[in-house]
């Protein structure tokens, strides 16, 4: 009933667009009941870019409209303006009492203001207005005439489709059957869950008497569903790859220290933490010393984290791990001890609470691929970054002398020693590089996860799983295992929830190891202890 009233008042107003600010409208705004105000605002919005209507709407959104001496006025600082002409009223009436708006009215006012901007001469302004309206608008039936007007004028290829959709959404409530049918057909091209929600009531005969339209709405919903399903899947694959790239960064270092050197480093997660805290420290340093470059602290954090984590790693290797080569279980316990010491050291240095590491401006926001699929820049950059690190590691292992030595020591330690490879120094360096890569992983993590003393503990099991699944000593294995685990985890999460997904993945790995203890990519050869 309310809607009908609104429509009638709207149609009346469209007929007399030039008379938008006639006393009836103003009286409606001044009235006490919200229905009257709503009709008045609807009339105002239908007036489009009429300057007087705009002024009043703007004043409404700024809470500057008041009632003084039985008439509507706009309060502008010292002056009191006449809403119809915008001219100051003299003498100013005493004690203007500002009129109240409820939430839905306020929304309507904002929508009307945005809609008016659709008629602006500036293309960028029109585009932003159209996008904003699309993002948060209900049916907006009151704005339909305005949309039609804007659509008639619009020439731009980017704005026009948005306007078509806006107009179609607004036209769903139109009394004209042909118009509604056209609207449903237009909306079938959309891929947004909000549009689907708008179309769903049309399936019910109580809301939509025309059968033709109900059928059409059904097809439209199916089309939207298909598009939604596609972008959902794409989104899941992307978050899976993003998780996988984090796992890869965490596991790459481990693939070197465990895979290549056979050292179980339980403190690997804490090396991630060292990297993350390096990023935090660099951020604090930039804020204090170079506030103008604070957005680029991350670029400085990358090498710093690498070298700090590498130094910590080499120190660990020199002091503890070196003495435990060939005793893997003892190494496991000793490195667990190291991890406890590192955690407590971080607590004493930086406090037990999580610290705040901000995303630089250039990493915020995202790429909008579809209505419900947006790829955040920070995740995209991390995926690219892990690819970059992977490339570096591959080059280092395969194209440098150091890499050759590391591979030689892996394959046959005594023989490598015999031909002059300084095996002890290679161990330290390889451990340092593995730790440094963990530090890089920590920098990446600091951008998407909490940074705290315990942050590394959550990754140790996962990164071991990657290395074990991928096969020891295999970079390719680690890559496939990390990405595979990431994607599978995300799909399972969508299906069964996060905790069950995690459990399923762990159970899967446990079963997998039973079948293929060597991992996905086994080294060819015969070993017996």
């Amino acid at each position: 009933m309310k809607r009908l009233l609104l429509l009638i008042s709207l149609l009346l107003c469209v007929g007399r667009a030039s008379a938008a600010l006639e006393p009836v409208v103003l009286q409606g705004l001044a009235s006490d009941d919200f229905d009257g105000k709503q009709a008045a605002v609807a009339a105002l919005s239908a007036a489009g870019d009429d300057a007087d209507a705009q002024r009043l709407l703007k004043a409404l959104s700024e809470d500057a409209v008041a009632v003084a001496g039985g008439r509507l006025v706009i309060v502008a600082g010292e002056q009191v303006l006449d809403p119809a002409s915008g001219a100051p009223i003299k003498p100013a009436p005493a004690s203007p009492e500002s009129i109240s708006l409820n939430n839905s009215l306020r929304q309507q006012v904002d929508g009307a203001l945005a809609a008016a901007r659709l008629l602006s001469a500036d293309r960028a302004e029109r585009l932003t207005a159209a996008r904003a309206l699309l993002a948060d608008m209900g049916e907006g039936a009151a704005l339909l005439p305005l949309f039609d007007k804007a659509l008639a004028r619009e020439q731009d290829g980017e704005i026009k489709p948005i306007l078509v959709q806006l107009a179609a959404q607004a036209a769903l409530g139109s009394p004209d059957v042909a118009r509604r049918l056209q609207a449903v057909r237009d909306l079938a091209g959309s891929g947004s869950p909000a549009v689907k929600a708008l179309l769903l009531p049309l399936l019910d005969p109580a809301n939509e008497p025309e059968e033709k339209l109900r059928l059409e709405a059904g097809t439209a919903i199916k089309a939207i569903d298909a598009r939604l399903a596609w972008s959902d899947t794409a989104g899941q694959i992307f978050t899976g790859i993003s998780l996988g790239s984090i796992l890869l960064l965490a596991a790459l270092g481990l693939a070197i220290t465990y895979g290549v050197m056979g050292v179980i480093n339980m403190a690997h997660g804490e090396l991630l933490m060292v990297g993350a805290y390096s990023a935090y420290t660099m951020q604090a340093l930039f804020r204090a010393k170079f506030p103008e470059f604070v957005d680029y602290y991350l670029l400085a954090a990358v090498p710093v984290a690498f070298f700090v984590a590498a130094a910590v790693g080499m120190l660990m290797e020199r002091t503890v791990i070196r003495h435990l080569y060939g005793r893997p279980l003892e190494t496991l316990l000793a490195t667990w001890g190291l991890s406890l010491v590192l955690i407590q050291a971080a607590r004493l240095l930086f406090g037990a609470q999580n610290v705040e590491v901000a995303n630089p401006v250039w990493m915020s926001g995202g790429v909008q691929l579809a209505e419900n699929l947006s790829l955040p820049w920070n995740r995209l950059i991390i995926v690219a970054f892990s690819g970059f690190v992977l490339l570096l590691v591959w080059l280092m292992m395969n194209k440098t002398r150091l890499g050759m030595f590391v591979r030689a020591v892996t394959q046959n330690r005594p023989m490598a020693g015999c031909v002059g490879v300084p095996t002890a120094r290679i161990d330290t360096l390889a451990f340092g590089i593995g730790s440094g890569i963990a530090g890089l992983g920590g920098v990446a993590l600091s951008q998407i996860a909490n940074v705290g003393p315990d942050m590394g503990q959550g990754y140790i099991v996962d990164s071991f799983m990657v290395v074990v699944l991928g096969g020891v000593g295999q970079l390719a294995g680690a890559v496939w295992a990390a990405l595979g685990l990431g994607v599978v985890t995300k799909f399972l999460e969508g299906w069964a929830g996060a905790v069950i997904a995690k459990i399923l993945v762990l159970v899967f790995i446990i079963i997998f190891i039973q079948k293929r203890p060597q991992g996905l990519f086994a080294l060819k050869g015969r070993f017996v202890d």
Partner: protein
């Protein structure tokens, strides 16, 4: 000829061992209860409730440590999942304790409070029979046993060993912890079980109940040590240590290591479950954090500190580590992790045989010095005294 079991049992410990057992039993069952109940609180020899609970808790830990030592020290299998078996035992028995609360919970319902909170109308099927003491006790042993058997069967059959096995057990307990953290699992989620009121109808906070639980913990520990002694002295124990030292060679001479490992692994898990069942009523709470990765690794350090491959060592280790934990966390909480971390590092680097090994070393060195002094005084050489006292083969190797 087969030796009768009683003779074996007696010979397994030797007269000095039995004397020690009798002394411990006397202290635990007679002296401690007397000191707790009969002496006034101001008396210097009075044993407080706090001390009884603390020692009872540590005794349960010691049982876990011995169980861990059976597989690690003698079988060479480092498990990072023993916290799971301990917690499973605790949860099984905790179910009984939850049912014993009856209608005295905050919601005055027949169901445990957390189920009322979740708006459940009846007990889930796996809570069937949990109001029977014996069934709960059976579950506390059987559940960890079955879980361990299934896990071990697949793991040992595919010849997973060394660090791989350790990492997988870690993943297992991690997965279980996540599972128990869920409210829908039906074990109280985050908070686990707590606020127990009664056990077998007796108030759980009464001093007599605490003393009985304490005495039972001592009895369990003694029983486990004796069982360990007998096992290790038997042929089974010999094969087990042989598997630890060289699994392939044992296979080559015709033994199937899977059976041996599976047996000791399952037994160890069941003992842990029993310890967990005794732990929960004494401490009064069980929650999923008992299954955390850190807890399970800590068990390994108790054994390492005390000395692997001995049965007294783990008991000492559990005592030393946990007493220092209590002391540190009350006096300097911020340094506890440093201490624990350094303990891990230093013990693995410098004390591979633990405290017991250190003691043996010191004794051996003294004997050597005495021998040298004796040979100076008496020019005739004596070779006997310089013999090392460290038992051969107990030098536990990593896999």
């Amino acid at each position: 000829m087969r030796t009768p079991l009683t003779v074996k049992l007696f010979a397994g410990l030797g007269p000095r061992g039995w004397l020690a057992v009798a002394a411990v039993a006397f202290i635990a069952w007679v002296l401690v209860p007397m000191a707790h109940l009969m002496l006034p609180e101001s008396h210097p020899l009075h044993v407080s409730t706090y001390a009884i609970t603390l020692i009872g808790k540590i005794l349960c830990y010691a049982v876990v440590a011995v169980a861990m030592d059976l597989i690690w020290g003698f079988g060479g299998i480092l498990s990072l999942g023993h916290g799971l078996f301990f917690a499973l035992g605790g949860y099984s028995f905790g179910m009984y304790l939850m049912r014993q609360i009856g209608r005295e919970g905050s919601y005055q319902s027949d169901l445990p409070d957390f189920m009322v909170f979740l708006d459940w109308k009846e007990l889930p099927w796996y809570w069937t029979g949990s109001d029977h003491f014996l069934w709960a006790l059976f579950l506390a042993i059987a559940v960890p046993g079955v879980v361990a058997w299934i896990f071990g069967y697949f793991a040992f059959r595919s010849r997973i060993k060394g660090v791989y096995f350790s990492i997988i057990t870690q993943a297992m307990t991690y997965a279980a912890m996540l599972f128990f953290f869920r409210n829908e699992t039906g074990f109280g989620g985050n908070n686990g079980f707590t606020d127990f009121k009664r056990i077998l109808g007796y108030s759980i906070t009464a001093p007599e109940t605490r003393l009985v639980l304490f005495g039972l913990s001592v009895a369990l520990l003694l029983a486990v040590i004796i069982l360990g002694k007998v096992l290790i002295a038997s042929k089974f124990g010999k094969v087990l240590t042989a598997i630890r030292d060289s699994e392939n060679r044992v296979m080559f001479i015709g033994y199937n290591p899977v059976h041996y490992k599976l047996f000791i692994w399952t037994l160890s898990a069941m003992l842990c479950g029993l310890a967990g069942a005794l732990y929960v009523p004494q401490v009064g709470i069980i929650n999923p954090s008992e299954m955390s990765v850190a807890n399970s690794i800590e068990i390994a350090i108790w054994v390492a500190v005390g000395g692997r491959g001995t049965l007294v060592g783990p008991v000492l280790g559990a005592g030393i580590v946990n007493l220092s934990k209590t002391w540190f966390t009350t006096s300097f909480p911020e340094y506890w992790l440093f201490f624990l971390g350094l303990l891990f590092i230093l013990v693995t680097l410098y004390l591979p045989q633990g405290v017991v090994g250190l003691w043996a070393k010191i004794k051996a060195r003294r004997a050597e010095k005495a021998a040298i002094a004796a040979s100076r005084a008496d020019p005739a050489p004596r070779a006997v005294a310089s013999e090392s006292k460290i038992p051969n083969g107990t030098a536990a190797k990593g896999a």
